[in-house]
């Protein structure tokens, strides 16, 4: 039972990170129908920024929660800025282009950003400081680590904030309008360019949160971490039903649990096979994902 709970919380942690990333994918996809392949790289840049900021600040004598807060904030700001710039350079000029062109541009950006970090920093794994302290009250608990608890709660909080933002603010409403019908929204005076920028900024900020948390939990990063995480998170978004925010979270969690239990009970070698196998299986049974609405084309 204890082993089961350990795997359960391990999966929940992993799934939370996938969920944070998947939200970015699903929001961008909902609004401009683009698979933002460079999203994983934004997450990686967030992790690097946090590492750099944390290392620099710890040499100035900062530590504990304040260090986490400042490094995290730096990561969020920088990732958001990268996401914003990425959209302006690689996707905005391609709004009217054939559907696959922005996808290629995204793949190009992903390669570019990986090599940018590789060249400017290093190709080696860097050890990431444990920014999340062990809680004193958690000393006797074995089934869940403090950092896991933090990751799960931060994800829950971010998701809640995002939901409130989308539901109740003006720009949130504009985002929903653009996702439903971009041209109609535009005719009604919604500033579509701005909505798209905000979408990228929010998605990138969420990715940065995920990047900082998981790096602190795992303890090492390199320039390539974004790629795998990105593919997994996109898988999670599709699993849950792309375009749907609750779907992205659910998809992330389901994916996390699948990987965790499969690794724990079956074989760790085939972790990713289970993840993708689950995706293929679900899409074949329910082509629009778990929470996705099937959209019939009007004839």
């Amino acid at each position: 039972m204890e082993y089961f709970l350990e795997l359960f919380f391990g999966g929940l942690t992993r799934g939370s990170i996938y969920a944070l990333l998947a939200l970015g994918y699903t929001m961008v996809y909902g609004i401009i129908q683009l698979i933002n392949f460079a999203h994983g790289e934004i997450y990686m840049i967030g992790a690097f920024t946090a590492l750099i900021a944390a290392s620099a600040l710890s040499m100035l004598g900062l530590d504990g929660w304040s260090l986490l807060a400042i490094a995290g904030l730096a990561a969020v700001i920088y990732s958001a800025a990268y996401g914003f710039t990425l959209e302006k350079i690689a996707y905005k000029p391609l709004r009217k282009a054939p559907r696959l062109s922005p996808l290629i541009s995204a793949i190009g950006m992903s390669i570019f950003l990986q090599n940018y970090v590789l060249l400017a920093q290093t190709s080696d794994f860097l050890s990431f400081p444990a920014l999340i302290d062990e809680f004193p009250f958690m000393e006797d608990v074995t089934i869940i680590r403090s950092s896991e608890l933090v990751i799960i709660s931060v994800t829950a909080l971010s998701t809640a904030l995002l939901t409130i933002f989308i539901k109740f603010t003006g720009i949130g409403k504009a985002m929903r309008a653009v996702a439903q019908d971009r041209i109609m929204a535009m005719l009604l005076g919604v500033k579509v360019d701005r909505v798209i920028s905000v979408t990228f900024i929010i998605g990138s900020a969420l990715a940065a949160v995920g990047g900082v948390l998981i790096s602190s939990h795992v303890g090492q990063i390199n320039f390539y971490i974004g790629f795998i995480a990105g593919i997994k998170a996109f898988t999670a978004a599709v699993l849950g039903g792309i375009g749907s925010l609750p779907g992205a979270v659910l998809g992330g969690l389901v994916l996390g649990w699948t990987e965790s239990f499969a690794t724990g009970y079956v074989s760790s070698d085939y972790e990713d096979v289970f993840a993708f196998g689950l995706l293929v299986f679900i899409l074949i049974c329910k082509p629009s994902g778990i929470l996705g609405r099937s959209s019939a084309e009007k004839v």
Partner: protein
């Protein structure tokens, strides 16, 4: 002198994102360009933005273990200067593109007209290309020939994927799975049973095709991007299985010592083998080109394109959707199988690391970059994408950076691909046209 838009009514700025106000936005650009002062200021702002953006990653380098920080301030200056000039150039190019003074399109049209007017010209060009290809391995070094072999292999893979993506419009991100199937087919048959290249080649194609049908059957009812992600997942599953199923595939260490194509007992040297393989690849590329161009203008090819354009209308024309998709999938896979078999024969060693998602992405990029559905486009795309990193070795570590940037830049300035596909014109006696006018 380009047409002026002075009289074009300005339709509000909100519309600028969907092309409803093209004349107005063009006019804005026209008005803005001469104001050098404003442009400089804007570029300056962009330069500052990029200096901010790249600050932590470019300037600070930490080593967490030794607890040291290295500050590299000089880089900030380079970034600023670079971003400033690039942003000036970028906006100038965007302006030129939107004002329609780009010179590339007329060039393409002029070229195709040049070849259409006289058939002999096309024959001459083809003959020249043929002679060049025949002499290539004797003019250039083994190393160059070997690079050219890879480029041609990617031409083949690109043309194969072009059937699936370019003609049938099915976004396949797991093409590499069939490539792997072909490679392992030859490698394993050769390892266990000593099967030769020429026997394995058709088998590799057939196995890949069967796999294509096997995969295609359940997933082809998925639409667009769902299909993309499922094929991506499938590609990854195949790679992971190859990596972990040691008894079958020898795991990550792969299979070494695969035979090169039989040399008729002539005892080729390494160079001899390379030249031999070069001709084999040339032959296969030629074959692929003939097959794809014939298919494209056939009953099946039209069905593929119709399916890409409009699935519902396509079915209403009596076309079996599933079957048409499956044929495209299986045929595309066949060529990946051939490509994999060639890869195994070329490198004599394969392991799962050659079949990552990046490989699928590169092949897809060849198709989209070159121009979807266009054969010459795919050839051009393959040469650019495969030869560029090779010849960029002068910049050694910067080559992948330049490669990624080039992909973005080409897409931004030529979103429809370098060469756009053209449809066949059918010839009819003129009197028939005139006679049957209503």
């Amino acid at each position: 002198m380009p047409i002026k838009h002075e009289n074009a009514p300005s339709i509000g700025k909100t519309a600028s994102c969907d092309g409803y106000s093209l004349p107005a936005s063009r006019r804005n650009l026209r008005d803005r360009l001469p104001k050098t002062g404003f442009n400089t200021l804007k570029s300056l702002g962009i330069a500052l933005w990029f200096m901010f953006l790249t600050f932590p990653i470019m300037v600070i380098k930490v080593s967490p273990l030794e607890k040291t920080i290295e500050w590299r301030w000089s880089r900030l200056v380079y970034v600023g200067a670079g971003a400033f000039s690039l942003s000036m150039l970028w906006r100038f190019l965007i302006y030129r593109m939107e004002a329609g003074t780009s010179f590339k399109k007329p060039l393409q049209e002029r070229l195709s007209l040049f070849f259409q007017r006289k058939k002999s010209r096309k024959a001459t060009a083809l003959a020249a290309a043929f002679i060049f290809a025949a002499l290539f391995p004797f003019i250039f070094s083994t190393y160059q020939t070997s690079i050219m072999i890879s480029a041609l292999m990617y031409v083949m893979l690109g043309l194969g994927l072009n059937i699936v993506v370019g003609l049938a419009g099915l976004l396949d991100l797991g093409y590499v799975a069939f490539y792997a199937a072909g490679a392992y087919c030859y490698a394993l048959l050769n390892h266990h049973f000593g099967v030769g290249f020429w026997t394995a080649l058709p088998l590799a194609g057939a196995i890949a095709a069967v796999m294509g049908i096997f995969l295609g059957f359940p997933v082809l009812r998925l639409r667009g991007d769902y299909l993309a992600i499922v094929t991506l997942g499938f590609g990854e599953i195949i790679r992971l299985v190859l990596e972990n199923w040691n008894e079958f595939s020898f795991g990550p260490s792969g299979i070494a010592g695969i035979d090169r194509p039989w040399d008729f007992g002539l005892g080729f040297t390494l160079r001899g083998h390379t030249i031999y393989l070069f001709y084999i690849v040339c032959l296969l590329v030629l074959l692929t080109m003939v097959v794809v161009s014939r298919l494209r203008n056939s009953r099946i090819g039209r069905a593929w394109i119709a399916l890409r354009e409009d699935e519902i209308a396509c079915e209403a024309m009596g076309i079996d959707k599933t079957r048409t998709k499956l044929t495209a999938f299986a045929l595309g896979a066949t060529w990946a199988g051939f490509g994999g078999c060639l890869l195994a024969a070329k490198t004599t060693f394969i392991n799962p690391a050659s079949f990552t998602f990046m490989e699928s992405a590169i092949i897809l990029s060849i198709v989209v970059l070159g121009g979807m559905g266009s054969i010459s486009g795919v050839i051009l795309g393959a040469f650019i994408l495969i030869l560029m990193p090779e010849y960029l070795r002068a910049f050694s570590e910067y080559r992948m950076l330049a490669f990624g940037a080039a992909m973005v830049i080409i897409m931004v300035f030529r979103p429809q691909g370098l060469i756009s596909a053209t449809r066949k014109r059918y010839e009819f006696p003129e009197e028939k046209r005139e006679g049957e006018k209503p």
